[in-house]
Amino acid sequence: MATLIFTVLPYVALATFVVGHVARYRHDKLGWGTRTSEVFEKRWLMWGSPLFHFGALFVIAGHAGGLLVPPGLTRALGISDHLYHQIAVWAGAVAGTVMCVGLAILFARRFFGGHRLRIVTTPMDRVLYALLIAETVVGMWQTVAINIFGSGYEYRGTVSVWFRQVFTLSTDPALLTGAPMVYRLHVILACLIIAVWPFTRLVHVWSVPVGYLARPFVVYRRRPQRAVRAGTRMARAARRGW
């Protein structure tokens, strides 16, 4: 069972992730965005959204560090395992807390913030909130209960190795079956988030408008190109149903 989960699930998730994105981008450009609800509620969003997003960005950076950088490299850089552990745990705890607070505000806002928000909340939003909250709670449990107050767990020898194996197509499920339950749960939930990603508003992550920094202020478009593009777009629109 565990073998099945930890060898098959990541690939199913990744396949859904890739195919889902391509399909969504080709067929539902109109739905590709942040699906902003600021016009309905702003006071809580002003707090919740920046806290969640900035927290999440740091959390993701932390994960990249923990999962991709092998212990050998940090040791070679002169960072002792103990020091690394301290930095990772405390920085992770702070970023995680910021993200948690933001997520809690956003959750309360969306589901207890009045009727207006409810009508723009889709079933996929509910799925996404459930997964994100579960994943965050499990993640904070690892950091706080196991690594701060508990005996600690050196995931860099197991989970991180498994993570890198996923990309070399040589996963060894035994690395995870030995890990504490919360770590396995964290991995499974992560796979689920990856799998639903293209079908939720998370797609806006790929639309971070960095190009804005370098372009001229006023954008002009010529009609001929548009006519051709719009023509094919119309033809496609007729098929795809919106």
Binding site: K29, G33, R118, P209, R221, R222, G231, A238
Partner: protein, 517 residues
């Protein structure tokens, strides 16, 4: 010189009766859908009044449009590019639904479904058109129509506040003057600016200005819902569709313009006060005109961006820029060019926002005329009207806040020319003579005054709307994607037989109105 063409509009405010036909026909055409219930691409507000959304002209609060930084360089009032990206997660300047209003419908079904013999008369309660829940109707898109709520709301008008700030002594006169009900209607659409703040603020480059005719549009496929355009537009003419989470705005009815037809608001305007035509402008002058340091020079600088379509040099440059002959010809016959540059009677709305708006207004003379006769003068005598115009400080200063960034002389000049038209035509019909001193004073010839009279008073549709259709050689192609239905193209599923919706089945007659919950 880099000549470009722009479709522009002028509205003659003296003739607006505030009937809202334009708003209603526009809404039926463009925003009669879920997600944009609260959106009016065209709205008509009463001035003085706080407008829609509430107090949108207060840029201290909303941070719309452009400003000059300390070095005199143009920058968006809401901040630079990095700041904007940092605010993607929550835009502090975005208006919320209550700044517009909560759209309302009534539970009419109750009137039918109430059981027979019920003692109490059934009541159709107001329900939110967005949530379907009971609402108290406390505000609307046009709550202060015809000075409704005057004593409370008029002092909140940002233009009144700016006027009082400029001259504290005006405060008392505001009151006295408003008790004599000075007001006019201001129909507003997107200005399709030459220096659009919305386009400049869009991080995804989804908003663009069409090179051919200058119409500003949102690419729905590229919009990601960062909503920076909503707050950056000082006229608040970009809106969020709350269902799709994307921005939508006035399209200047581009499918109609391409076919040579006027916009829906113009075509249905009861007062026949709208003019549509081309202007040629020098794209190289736009940035300089937008960054003129002294606001008093803005109007002249913005007028100066337009090119004289009769100037051979301009014509040559236009040809070189690929502007077709029929477009150059249309630009020469354009009522817009005449009203703005030749007769200098039209003024821009809030030039101080520095977006170079392309919908201009002939300021209303009627409040002045009312005041003239109220003061015992003859409203057809140029001297009495001139006297009234210059002594009537309040409406003039108010109009100056709205149309000329506070420059009272510019408003007076425009009003004087309008008054001169009345006096001249009166003289014409009484004894056939003319007052040369008067004509000299306003700097127009008798022929010009008469042409202006015809344009303002009796122009037919073909003179009010000089719109060259998009290129004929591409008409078939255009009609297949813009103004027609792609299903009707040869061999398409719409050729003969009943129309079918994209997923099969009959085409719905109304577009998905959500049922009350």
């Amino acid at each position: 010189m880099r000549v470009m063409a722009q479709v522009a509009m002028v509205m003659n405010l003296d003739k607006c009766i505030g009937c809202h036909t334009c708003s209603v026909t526009c809404k039926q055409t463009w925003t009669n859908r879920d997600g944009v219930e609260y959106v009016w691409f065209n709205n008509v507000e009463t001035k003085p009044g706080i407008g829609y959304p509430r107090g949108y002209e207060d840029q201290e609060r909303w941070k719309g449009g452009w400003e000059l930084d300390r070095k005199g360089r143009l920058r968006l009032r809401s901040g630079g590019r990095l700041k904007r990206l940092a605010q993607l997660f929550a835009n502090p300047d975005q208006p919320v639904l209550d700044d517009y209003y909560e759209p309302v419908t009534y539970d009419y079904d109750r009137l039918h479904s109430a059981p027979a013999g019920q003692k109490a008369v059934p009541v159709a309660r107001p329900k939110s058109a967005i949530t379907g829940k009971d609402v108290k109707v406390e505000w609307g898109p046009n709550w202060d129509d015809d000075l409704g709520g005057g004593p409370d709301l008029v002092p909140q008008d940002p233009n009144v506040r700016a006027m009082v700030a400029a001259d504290p002594a005006a405060a008392d006169k505001v009151k006295a003057s408003f008790e004599q009900t000075f007001m006019f209607h201001l129909p507003r659409i997107c200005e399709h600016c030459l220096n659009p703040a919305c386009v400049s603020a869009c991080p995804s480059s989804a908003m663009y200005k069409r090179e051919d005719d200058g119409i500003v549009l949102v690419d729905q496929d590229k919009c990601r819902g960062w909503r920076m355009c909503v707050s950056a537009c000082p006229y608040k003419k970009v809106y969020i569709n709350h269902v799709s989470g994307k921005a939508e705005k006035c399209t200047f009815c581009f499918p109609r313009i391409e076919a040579g037809l006027p916009t829906v608001c113009a075509e249905t305007c009861v007062g026949r006060l709208r003019y549509i035509g081309l202007v040629l402008y020098d794209a190289d002058k736009v940035a300089a005109a937008a960054s003129v340091p002294d606001t008093a020079d803005l109007l002249e600088a913005q007028r100066d961006v337009f090119c004289d379509p009769h100037d051979p040099e301009v014509i040559a440059a236009a040809r070189q820029a690929g502007i077709a002959e029929d477009w150059i010809d249309a630009a020469q016959r354009s009522p817009i060019w005449k009203l703005i540059s030749e007769f200098k009677v039209a003024l821009p709305l809030h030039p101080e926002y520095r977006t170079l708006p392309m919908v201009w207004y002939v300021p209303p003379l009627s409040p002045v005329l009312d005041a003239t006769s109220a003061g015992g003068g003859d409203d057809a005598s140029a001297d009495d009207v001139f006297h009234a115009i210059t002594s009537l400080r309040i409406p003039m200063e108010y109009l100056a806040q709205v149309f000329t960034a506070g420059d009272v002389d510019a408003v007076a000049g425009s009003l004087l020319r309008l008054a001169a038209v009345r006096t001249h035509m009166r003289r014409r019909s009484l004894d056939g003579g003319q007052d040369d001193a008067l004509l000299e004073r306003v700097g127009l010839t008798a022929e010009q005054v008469e042409e202006l009279y015809r344009l303002l008073a009796i122009a037919k549709m073909k003179d009010r709307y000089v719109i060259p259709p998009a290129h004929k050689e591409r008409a078939a192609e255009l009609s297949s994607w813009a103004s027609g239905c792609s299903l009707d193209s040869p061999g398409g599923p719409g050729m003969g037989g009943a129309p079918t919706a994209p997923g099969g089945g009959p085409v719905p007659v109304t577009i998905g109105k959500r049922r009350l919950r």
